[in-house]
């Protein structure tokens, strides 16, 4: 080729640049190595655009993806767009038009394809069917020779790169598939492994268990033999034919057979009395046939027979031995001769007790205080007229207690809960038919095995006795009253009669005397005689009075030191039962260090008793409230000692207080006034005084106050109080 110098230098530069570009193109695979096809194309197109100063470059590829249909990828790279420049899409469309004829051969160069403005298009077959690269430049000298060379090299490079990329992708896909397959297989192997491990472990466990079970079975056998041999109960096992397979020492002892004598023999022939053998055989046969048994799993009592033929009662429990194969059974037998005897003795004893309770109208109960668990005897149910066996509660008992005795009942329950000591009380029941029953209860406290408080009590229905007593008491008190009134009346009449006789004589004689003296002539002799008789009758009257005094006069009262507290306590002890009968609650408040008094102990006690009775009698009209009686001793002013008896029960009607005062000031037939007037005279004899006063609250207080014993006195001035003084009595 002919070369001009200036031209030659331009040519050299051009060639140098071409070589540089060629080198760059050849270096491209290093850049896209490992990339996917699109990355290869991007890199190539960018390089061509820059290298050949193209206006547009694009690539169209059909990429086979596995066996899937061909996919067309278009990649377009442009330099700065110009107004006259066709779009990449238009170019591709144009190319498609020219390839429409079906020719798969790309033309090497297309010129002025778009008409306006020159565009050079260089289609680059990339391995023919794979695709095409189109380079577009508006330059007229495009493509120069060197540029065509570069383009074809580029096309080759693209082809190699794409093939490599395609290969790589294929490899990657295969590798990924392989990996996945490996993972899957690994997982399968791991699962299989796991299963194997599990299987091994299970096999180990089973072996271990089998070993353990075997050991346990051995131990259990030893244990069972020991139990069977040492059992107190007879243990007999039989097979499905009813033949004895085991006969323990207790059975040997009880029945009198040796084990080896009976093994293999029919059970029925050994221990069952002849009379029952047939029944036993039938039952056994029925069980074998139907599987239904009347005796299995139950405790039954029957008669058994010993080797010597003697019969005795046994308790029997039969259990089927839970083994496969023909059924076999274990029988547990216990000689219950002693228990039977004890049961009979107990029944007899219970019958005796019930009869005794019935005859004596006495019931019994136990009461566990902590749980309020109450057990009654049958007789108690009868007494309370409740259905035998209904659960007993305090509430139920309370429903029967007479309303007037409820307060007392509650108090007893309360005290019993905390007390823990034996107690005794009397109360009444109000039955549904409004009849009243009198009860007398005696309770003994015990502690059960847990140390809990429990009362065992006997309750007697004393209604009949009580009614008889009441009738007797009434009769007695009426008699006393009659006797007192009668004796008083008799006394009065007798005094009057005894005195009226001589008085009558005196009056008549005096009258006669006067008449004789007034006569004319006066009958002086007659008058003297009548006057003499008057004197004699006067003396007779005087004698009558002396005789009455001897007959009815009190003996001289004794004067001894008296402890009023002691005297009071004696009276309380004597009158407690009577107070209880009136359902009065007595509260003694006796002062400590009470000075002694001088007097007649018995007389003073009569006064105290009288005051208590008055209070208690007066209270008898009150039925709906508790009755509190307060008896109190205390030092009084002026070296005196005071004793008072008060009704402090709530709700003492004012009328009742009025009645008491009335009774105190009058002497009515009731005898109360008489008792009080006697009391007053006794107290006055003791230089004291007796009075009654209404309480601040309800009720009345009777008090007496008497001087202390002189020894107790300290000054001379107070000794004057011993001098009898006129008492106003109230």
């Amino acid at each position: 080729m002919e070369v001009q110098p200036e031209l030659a230098s331009g040519e050299v530069k051009h060639l140098q640049r071409c070589i540089n570009d060629l080198v760059s193109l050849l270096a491209l695979p290093a850049i896209w190595s490992g990339g996917d096809p699109s990355q290869v194309l991007h890199t190539l197109l960018d390089a061509l655009l820059r290298m050949l100063r193209l206006d547009l470059v694009c690539a169209r590829l059909t990429l086979p993806v596995g066996e899937a249909p061909v996919e067309i990828v278009e990649i377009v790279r442009t330099a700065e767009p110009r107004a006259s420049m066709p779009s990449a899409h238009e170019i591709c469309e144009a190319l498609s038009q020219c390839l429409k004829d079906g020719s798969r051969k790309w033309p090497p160069l297309l010129r002025n394809l778009m008409g306006e403005g020159d565009v050079s298009i260089v289609p680059l077959p990339v391995q023919g069917e794979l695709g095409v690269i189109v380079a577009v430049a508006q330059r007229t000298d495009f493509p120069r020779q060197t540029e065509a060379l570069l383009l074809s090299v580029a096309a080759n490079q693209a082809c190699i790169g794409l093939q490599e990329a395609r290969l790589l992708a294929h490899q990657k896909r295969v590798s990924a598939e392989l990996d996945q397959r490996v993972v899957q297989r690994t997982a399968e192997l791991a699962a299989a492994n796991e299963e194997l491990k599990k299987e091994l472990a299970e096999r180990g466990l089973i072996e271990e268990r089998l070993g353990r079970e075997e050991r346990e079975l051995k131990r259990s056998e030893v244990r069972k033999t020991a139990i069977v041999d040492s059992a107190l109960d007879c243990i007999v096992t039989i097979d499905h034919e009813g033949c004895i397979t085991e006969f323990n020492p207790a059975a040997e002892h009880t029945f009198g057979y040796r084990r080896d004598e009976v093994l293999g023999k029919h059970l029925a022939d050994v221990i069952i009395p002849p009379s029952l053998r047939e029944k036993h055989r039938q039952g056994f046969a029925r069980y074998l046939a139907t599987g239904k048994a009347r005796v299995l799993g139950k405790r039954i009592e029957m008669t058994a027979v010993r080797a010597d033929g003697s019969e005795f009662p046994v308790e029997l429990a039969i259990a089927r031995i839970p083994l496969e194969g023909p059924p076999s059974f274990t029988g547990y037998l216990r000689d219950i001769t002693e228990r039977k005897q004890a049961e009979q003795a107990l029944r007899r004893s219970e019958a005796f007790l019930a009869e005794a309770q019935h005859l004596s109208h006495t019931g019994s109960f136990s009461w566990r205080v902590a749980t309020d668990e109450i057990t009654w005897s049958e007789q108690l149910y009868r007494i309370y007229e409740l259905e035998i066996g209904v659960p007993v509660t305090l509430e139920l008992i309370r429903s029967r207690v007479h309303p007037e005795d409820l307060t007392l009942f509650e108090r007893m329950v309360e005290e019993a809960r905390v007390g823990g000591s034996d107690f005794e009380w009397q109360y009444r029941l109000l039955m549904p038919n409004h009849s009243i029953k009198y009860m007398h209860a005696l309770a003994q406290s015990t502690r059960d095995q847990d140390g809990q408080l429990e009362y065992i009590a006997a309750v007697q229905d004393v209604t009949a006795r009580r009614l008889a007593e009441e009738a007797r008491d009434k009769a007695r008190s009426e008699l006393t009253h009659v006797a007192r009134v009668t004796s008083l009346g008799t006394l009065t009449a007798s005094i009057a009669h005894e005195l009226n006789q001589p008085l009558s004589g005196i009056v008549t004689n005096a009258g006669t005397c006067m008449r004789m003296l007034a006569a004319d002539p006066p009958n002086v002799e007659g008058a003297r005689e009548t006057a003499r008789r008057t004197i004699r009758d006067g003396n007779r009257a005087s004698e009558v009075i002396t005789r009455l005094r001897t007959l009815f006069g009190k003996k001289e009262a004794t004067n001894e030191p008296v402890d009023l507290n002691d005297a009071t306590r004696d009276v309380l002890a004597l009158s407690l039962s009577e107070l209880q009968k009136n359902r009065a609650i007595l509260r003694p408040e006796l002062a400590d260090d009470l000075p002694l008094v001088t007097g007649d102990r018995v007389q003073l006690q009569q006064v105290i008793l009288n005051l208590l009775r008055n209070a208690s009698d007066a209270r008898s009209t009150i039925h709906d409230r508790p009755r509190d009686l307060l008896i109190r001793t205390e030092p009084d002013d002026n070296n005196r000692v005071r004793l008072s008896v008060s009704d402090v029960g709530i709700g003492f009607e004012p009328q009742a207080a009025d009645r008491l005062f009335e009774a105190f000031y009058t002497t009515k037939n009731e005898g109360m006034g008489i008792g009080l007037s006697v009391s007053r005279s006794i107290i006055e004899r003791h230089h004291g005084r007796l009075w009654a006063a209404p309480n601040n609250g309800p009720g009345v207080t009777f008090s007496f106050s008497i001087p202390c014993r002189p020894e107790s006195l300290t000054s001379d001035s107070t000794r004057d109080s011993r001098i009898p003084s006129v008492s106003d009595g109230a």
């Binding site: 009669h497 009226n500 008549t508 007659g526 005689e529 009548t530």
Partner: protein, 143 residues
């Protein structure tokens, strides 16, 4: 008269009583109490009646005075037959004599009872001489 010995005086009194009895109505006194038996006849004598005293109802019934007695002064309560019983007995014998009861027991019930049975009066001892005179007079002269 003072000079007369006691026995003689008594004898004289007895004679006078008997003599009067002939002409005066006889009043009999039956009482177990001696002072009444001693004093009352003297008083009755002073009133001008003939008087006899008996210590019991039985003694009176046994005496010969039953028919002559015009008025009977009778103690209510006596050992043995009582006053009212004697009154009933006389009624049974159809010999009804007016009765004046006297009693040492001041029992209104007794008084009413005997009055109901037909007594003339019932005087409580000690009674006044005039009350006795009134009672005897009304017995002897029924209106």
């Amino acid at each position: 008269m003072d000079a007369l010995p006691r026995e003689a005086h008594c004898y004289a009194m007895e004679l006078r009583r008997e003599k009067r009895a002939m002409e005066r109505p006889l009043v009999s006194v039956v009482d177990d109490d001696e002072s009444v038996r001693e004093s009352l006849p003297d008083l009755l004598g002073e009133f001008g009646f003939a008087a006899r005293a008996f210590s019991s109802a039985e003694e009176f019934l046994a005496s010969d005075c039953v028919d002559q007695t015009r008025c009977l002064i009778l103690d209510v309560a006596m050992p043995g037959m009582s006053g009212p019983e004697l009154q009933r007995e006389l009624k049974l014998r159809r010999r009804e004599i007016p009765v004046v009861f006297i009693t040492g027991q001041r029992e209104e019930i007794v008084r009413l009872q005997v009055l109901k049975q037909g007594a003339i009066a019932c005087l409580f001892k000690p009674f006044s001489d005039t009350a006795m005179l009134d009672a005897v007079n009304s017995a002897l002269h029924p209106k």
